[in-house]
Every structure is written in structure tokens, then in C-alpha cells.
């Protein structure tokens, strides 16, 4: 009887393996992997694989662990890639224009995170207006018994909320805030049909007519520093900025200046221009709520992400429409 074949070392090519091949693209400093999500369905290819130099030239699908960049260099390195599957809603680290030029399809997390981000945006807004975190510090510091008096907050109802970017997240924020009695308006690249809220064609106009701006749009070359000095001046001294998009949507230096000088009333920030660095001037402010980029991180949304990733890859290999393709516009 022939002896059983030697067990194959992990990662080496198994000629009997029929699973589709997926290249895992991640920066070396990312120690977490999603390989356990991929391995039940796909054959993964990593730089440590002995056949990498060969297979990387023919692999058709690239799994990009955000925010590992995918740019023209990457696509030159892996010339057969036809589909890039991302792990986040925001994919500003993927050169969409370049992918489009090479007819490489790109998918993101789709709706996987939208509800959690929308919840978080509302949570941040209530926290800033009603001073929840500040009051929590006040109580834990033993100050309630001593000081008694505590500054009043501001009512959520009746506030004019300007949503910047009425995509999946923005729409969910709007839906949540309506029963609070908020008045919703928005700015987007284009006016949306069948939306009951007033549209403003510029963020400046939106800001002029809002008490709070909630940033839910993607970061592109057009939206970088969208919230600048002029917009914040238009928003005014009683205005509030909530950012659950990307740090770079806001001119952070200006925002800090406005907050420190009292030129806007407050901010709730889940994202920053240079994470995990957060401007120290904000640490002493009670009208600011700071959050370490965690609007998406719930076990529920992680599971939805897993489904989106596996679903997109399955669809790609079956030549079916992708679940959450991001089109270049």
C-alpha cells in the first residue's frame, strides 16, 4: 500500500485544492488577520507563500485589509487582479480612479456598518447637546454633592440638522433623528429623488441653515477639508459638528481653534486627521466628545462585514453581480 502523502506545509500550493485563490493584501504592521473568515471558502495567498512570486501574477481577487493602500503600484504588482474587496465603508485608501482605469472592480463593506455608525452619530449628538459625558465626569469626580449647580444643555428637538452625505449612513441618521423633532436637511454630490428633506447644493448653505452638521460622506479629493473656516463661521457660535466620516473631512486645525475660542458650540468626533493622535487642546473641553474611531466596531457589524466580504468574493468568482460594488464617479 502506498504511504500517505506528506502533509503539506501551511500555505503551500496543494494541487488538489479547488478553492478560488484570494490574495491577502495587508501592511506588515497589521497583526490581526481575517484569514479565518476567508479560509473556509477560499485559498489564501500571502507573501510568505513559497509560490507567491508566481501566483501573485495570476491571482484575480485581492482582499485589502483597510487601510492598507491599493494604488497603481499595487495593481502593477498584481496584474491579473480584477476585483479588490475592502473591509470598510470608507475606501479612501483605495485608488478608485486607477482601479476604474484598469477595469478593476472594488467592493466595500456596503451597509454592514451603517446602522451602528448612525446610532453612534446620534449618540454623539445627544452627548454633546445634553453634556452626557461631561455630566458623567462631574458625577464620578464627586462634584455633584459639592457643586450642585451644573451648566444646562441644549434641547435636541427643534434643532436643524444638516447631514453632509445622504448615503446609507446619512439616511439612517435622518430616520433616527426625525422622532426627536429635529428638522433635517442635507447636502450631497447630487440631489436625491424621493427624499423629503430640503437639499442644499453647497455645504456652506447647509451650514448657514443648520444648528448641527453631521458628516456622513466619503473622503475623496473633493471632500477633503470640506468643513473649513468658512463653513464653521456659517454654522455659527451655537453650531455643533459631529464627524463619523473621516478626519480629513474637517480642517482639524481650524476646528480646534474654533472650539477653543468658542466660535462654535461643540463637537462630537469619532475620527481625526492623524489617528490615533488627537489635538491635546481638546482634552480640557467639556463641550467636545472624543471617540477612538469606534463607530463601526460592534460584534454585530463585524459579522455583517464577514458576510459582505465572503459574499462579494463568492459573487465575483461565480460571475454574478457584486453585493457592494463602489463605482467610480
Amino acid at each position: 500500500m502506498a504511504s500517505p502523502p506528506n502533509p503539506q506545509p501551511i500555505g503551500s500550493p496543494d494541487p488538489n485544492d479547488n478553492l478560488p485563490l484570494v490574495l491577502v493584501h495587508r501592511l506588515p504592521q497589521f497583526t490581526t488577520t481575517f484569514n479565518h473568515w476567508l479560509q473556509p471558502h477560499f485559498r489564501i495567498l500571502e507573501p510568505s507563500d513559497p509560490s507567491f512570486s508566481i501566483r501573485s501574477k495570476t491571482v484575480r481577487a485581492l482582499f485589502c485589509m483597510g487601510p492598507t493602500p491599493v494604488n497603481s503600484e499595487t495593481l502593477d504588482q498584481f496584474p491579473s487582479v480584477e476585483c479588490v474587496v475592502g473591509t470598510s465603508a470608507g475606501i479612501d485608501h483605495i485608488d478608485l480612479a486607477e482601479c476604474n482605469r484598469r477595469r478593476v472592480m472594488v467592493t466595500n463593506a456596503g451597509d454592514a456598518f451603517s446602522e451602528d455608525v448612525a446610532d453612534y452619530a446620534v449618540g454623539l449628538l445627544i452627548d454633546v447637546l445634553r453634556r452626557v459625558s461631561a455630566a458623567d465626569r462631574f458625577v464620578r469626580g464627586g462634584l455633584w454633592a459639592v457643586n450642585g449647580e451644573y451648566p444646562l444643555g441644549s434641547k435636541v428637538g427643534g434643532k436643524r440638522i444638516g447631514i453632509v452625505g445622504l448615503g446609507s449612513i446619512g439616511s439612517m441618521v435622518a430616520k433616527r433623528l426625525e422622532p426627536f423633532g429635529c428638522i433635517i436637511a442635507y447636502n450631497s454630490r447630487r440631489k436625491k429623488l424621493n427624499v423629503p428633506f430640503p437639499y442644499y447644493s453647497t455645504v456652506q448653505d447647509l451650514a448657514t441653515n443648520s444648528d448641527a452638521l453631521i458628516l456622513c460622506c466619503s473622503l475623496t479629493s473633493e471632500t477633503r477639508h470640506l468643513i473649513n473656516k468658512d463653513v464653521m463661521m456659517a454654522l455659527g457660535k451655537k453650531g455643533v459638528v459631529i464627524n463619523v466620516g473621516r478626519g480629513a473631512l474637517v480642517d482639524e486645525k481650524e476646528l480646534v481653534e474654533f472650539l477653543v475660542q468658542g466660535e462654535i458650540a461643540g463637537a462630537g468626533l469619532d475620527v481625526f486627521e492623524d489617528e490615533p493622535n488627537v489635538p491635546k487642546e481638546l482634552f480640557g473641553l467639556d463641550n467636545v466628545v472624543l471617540s477612538p474611531h469606534k463607530a463601526v466596531t460592534t460584534p454585530e457589524s463585524i459579522e455583517r462585514l464577514r458576510k459582505a466580504i465572503v459574499g462579494n468574493l463568492d459573487a465575483f468568482f461565480a460571475n454574478k453581480p457584486l453585493l457592494s460594488q463602489v463605482k467610480f464617479e
Partner: protein, 313 residues
Amino acid sequence: MDNVGVLMLCPISSYLEQELNKRFKLLKFWPITSKTEFLKENSNYIRAVVGNSACGADSELIDSLPKLEIVSSYSVGVDKIDLVKCKERGIRVTNTPDVLTDDVADLAIGLAIATLRKICVSDGFVRNGLWKNRDFELTTKFSGKSVGIVGLGRIGSAIAKRAEAFGCSLSYHSRSQKLDINYKYYSNIINLATNCEILIVACSLTEESRHIINREVINALGPKGIIINVGRGAHVDELELVSALLEGRLGGAGLDVFENEPDVPEQLFGLENVVLVSHVGSDTVETCKAMADLVIENLEAYFMNKTLVTSVV
């Protein structure tokens, strides 16, 4: 009406003091050291009392004010007022419903999100420089969770309306079932707690509802459940709540009220699954003015022999 003595029991707002002063003879109770003396000297012309959720016209005070005709409370809850005695003596009582409903409901939802998503904790995480070393842990989703409301009155209904927009399923416990409401009704609060993940207390404080959230209810809610209290501290058996949180029998709590304000059990200060705020349910600039205006409106109506706007008794 400036010969009508109005006794204000505790500091509320300078706006309210100012407006009372314009119309009546305002006397402030809280700075007085010898209160019994003061009452003896002034009781002849004190015809109205203004209190709030902390200070009310209790039995003793009512007895020392023989000319008292109306108690106007700057609150919706009237648990600090001896309503029975007021009824007996024909003393009118007014409160401030509706104007604060939205604020309290907003806060209840804000506390629920803050508790589940650890917003306050992670703010501290950033301020203490910890983000530089590691990411924050996962926190559990709010949308879609089952919400159980204790007391489906004005505030409870407003909370339910908001929670619906987050895809939460709603159920409630009340003294009686509301026939025009679609939410699932539980006549037994233990069953409500067993069947929900977020239990929100929004009922009034009465003899029956004191410590309505007890050990049994807390255990039924369980280690993944959270309690949000925007009612009164005494709705919850606070000692039981604290031990349940410390032992992990309860998942978390968002508390605006406590049994003995402003004292808050210090064992809660080190917990990351609680949010503690200082009875700020209606503390917004807009609502405080509206509440003060309503107190004034009721007093003016009374002393001008008109119908009271929002009377309880």
C-alpha cells in the same frame, strides 16, 4: 398680586426668581438657617409654594403654612408633595408636564446608546492618552435591541417613538394596558424584564412603584441587560442595583436619578458599563424656561381666578 407671598423652597433658576419677584412677594426658603422661626413669622401671608423634584411641600411644611392655597411644582413628578393632605385642605397642586417630555425621552435614548456603546468611557480613553497604545474594545449594538418600558405615559411613549426609529422592538409594563397601543403589554414586570434587553423606567413614583426594580427584576433582565432610569431614584432598589452590577448579574445601567441625590454610590464610579448623570433629564436652556413659564402661568391663573393650566390636584 404683589402682596401674595410665594415661598420658593430651593434654588431653581434666576429666571424663575426674577419672574416670581415681578408678580408676587417672593420668599426664598433655602438660605434661611432657622426655618421654624421664619415660618412662624411669615406664615400669615404665604399663600403659594414653589418646589421641584428635590424639594416639595411635605406634610410638615403644609402644617406650618395655614394660608397655603397652591403648590406649583417645577417638575412633572409630584412624589415629594403630600397630595393627600393637599386634597384634604383644598390646596391646589400644579406640575410641568409635556414641556419636558421630549428632553427626558431624548436623554433616555442618549443614555442607552452611551451605556451600550461606551461613549463616555471611550472619551476618557482618548483623553487619558490610551488610544496611542491600543484600540478600544468592541461594544454592543443599540439598533434592533428589544426595549421594555416601565410606564407608558407621556415620557414612556415619547421614548418608545424614538426607539422605534432604531428598529427596536417595544414592550411595556403599566398599571393598565393601553388599548390603542401596538406594543406588547406585560402585566407582570418580571416578564417584561425577562423579555427585553433594555429596560427603561419612565413611570411616576408612588407607593406601588417604589423599588419596582428590585432584585428579581434585575436578575430577570440578566447579565446582558441594561437599565435606564429617567424616573426617580426610588424606583430602583439601589443597593441591589449596585451589587448586581458589581457581581456581573446585570449588564449595565444609565442613570439620571438616584435614591439620595446628590449622593451616588461610589462603587459605581469605577465601572465602565454605567453612565451616571446628575438629574439633568429636563436641564436644557429651552425647557427650563418653558417649565418656569408654566409655573408662573399656573400661579397667575390661580390668583386671577382662572382655570389652572396643568393641575394635579
